[in-house]
């Protein structure tokens, strides 16, 4: 049904009158303030139930293995006690180990030293070196028996 001209005129005037009390910019600001006060957006991490633990694990792993591994991994500070030396070892070996070979595990595993290659051409000393990327190396050495003269 087509509206009568007077009805259209009334509608036009009515809309003009009402729009005087409706300020879109003011309304937007009020709406924004109202929503942020009563219906705020949740923080990003709690969107899903698995986000928080997953992200926490990733951050911890990054810190441990990439950023500062030395803070978390200290092979030199091993708690394994040194086994007592066998009776046969109490006698001084006939030939001293090479000067370059470290004397104890504690001395050997200095944090700031990366051993890239160790060798010995004297005596029965066996040196085993393992190095995987930048992971601190573990060095094991074995004196199977005192050297004989």
């Amino acid at each position: 049904m087509k509206p009568e001209p007077e009805d259209k005129r009334i509608q036009q005037l009515y809309r003009e009158i009402l729009s005087e009390g409706i300020n879109p910019a003011e309304l937007r600001a009020e709406k924004k303030a109202f929503i942020s006060l009563y219906f705020p957006k949740k923080p990003f991490f709690v969107f899903g139930p698995m986000w928080t633990p997953a992200v926490a694990f990733a951050v911890a792993a990054f810190a441990v293995f990439v950023v500062r591994p030395e803070l978390f991994i200290s092979p030199g500070a091993s708690t394994v006690e040194e086994a007592p030396a066998p009776a046969a070892m109490t006698a001084a070996p006939a030939a001293a180990p090479a000067a370059s070979v470290p004397q104890t595990a504690g001395q050997q595993m200095s944090k700031n030293i990366i051993i890239s290659h160790v060798s010995s051409e004297m005596g029965p000393t066996v040196v085993y070196q393992k190095r995987v990327e930048n992971v601190p190396v573990a060095v094991v050495w074995v004196f199977p028996k005192p050297a004989t003269a």
Partner: protein
């Protein structure tokens, strides 16, 4: 037809404030317009609008989805606006002038004191009188008028929204328009002039 707000409403029903915030973002202006259409005061309309959303969030668990969320929200807004209208002090009109009972009965006296062009002055005069005519309407009449003339709802939609008989909606709109039409006729503006005025604007 599926309610376009169905998913947000479902989340809001489970207490998801963020989902309800999106509904607020979507319908804030609509609710404000409806409240202003009944109250005709900005501050009161703003307060009522915010009350409507807070109440809607509390009550949304009871919303069964029999109608669209928008329709339900219209209803909540209308009831809140009408309640607010009845609670407030009578009666300050849109332009800040008091409307007393004596003025309601007084004949319209048109006095052109505006220094501007005659048409502008006449238009301002009409608007002033229209505002007074609107103020004289009951909140129920204002409610149907704002839904029809501002929101553009059909008679059927208004009837569903306000849970009224179709005949009641039609008679209220007829009465409200007649009241405003009386102002136009009182100003000596007949339908032909209205058409000419509109053509001039184009």
């Amino acid at each position: 037809m599926k309610d376009p707000d169905f998913e947000l409403v479902e989340r809001a029903r489970q207490g998801d404030k963020q989902a309800f915030g999106k509904l607020v973002n979507q319908y804030y202006e609509m609710v404000y317009a409806v409240c202003y259409g009944v109250l005709h005061l900005r501050e009161a309309a703003r307060d009522t609008t915010q009350d409507v959303f807070l109440k809607a969030f509390q009550e949304i668990a009871r919303f069964k989805g029999d109608s669209k969320f928008k329709t339900w929200l219209y209803r909540v807004a209308m009831n809140a606006a009408i309640d607010a209208f009845r609670r407030r002090k009578p009666s300050v009109s849109l332009d800040g002038t008091d409307v007393s009972d004596d003025e309601d009965q007084a004949p319209v006296i048109i006095e052109d004191v505006s220094p501007g062009p005659r048409e502008e002055a006449a238009k301002l005069e009409i608007k002033g009188l229209m505002k007074k005519a609107l103020e004289e309407l009951s909140p129920e009449h204002k409610a149907v008028l704002v839904l029809r003339e501002w929101e553009g709802l059909s008679y059927d939609e208004i009837a569903e929204t306000l849970q009224l008989e179709l005949g009641t909606v039609m008679s209220r709109i007829f009465y409200a328009r007649k009241k405003m039409g009386d102002v136009l006729r009182g100003m000596g503006i007949n339908s032909q002039e209205a058409v000419r005025d509109r053509e001039r604007k184009k």
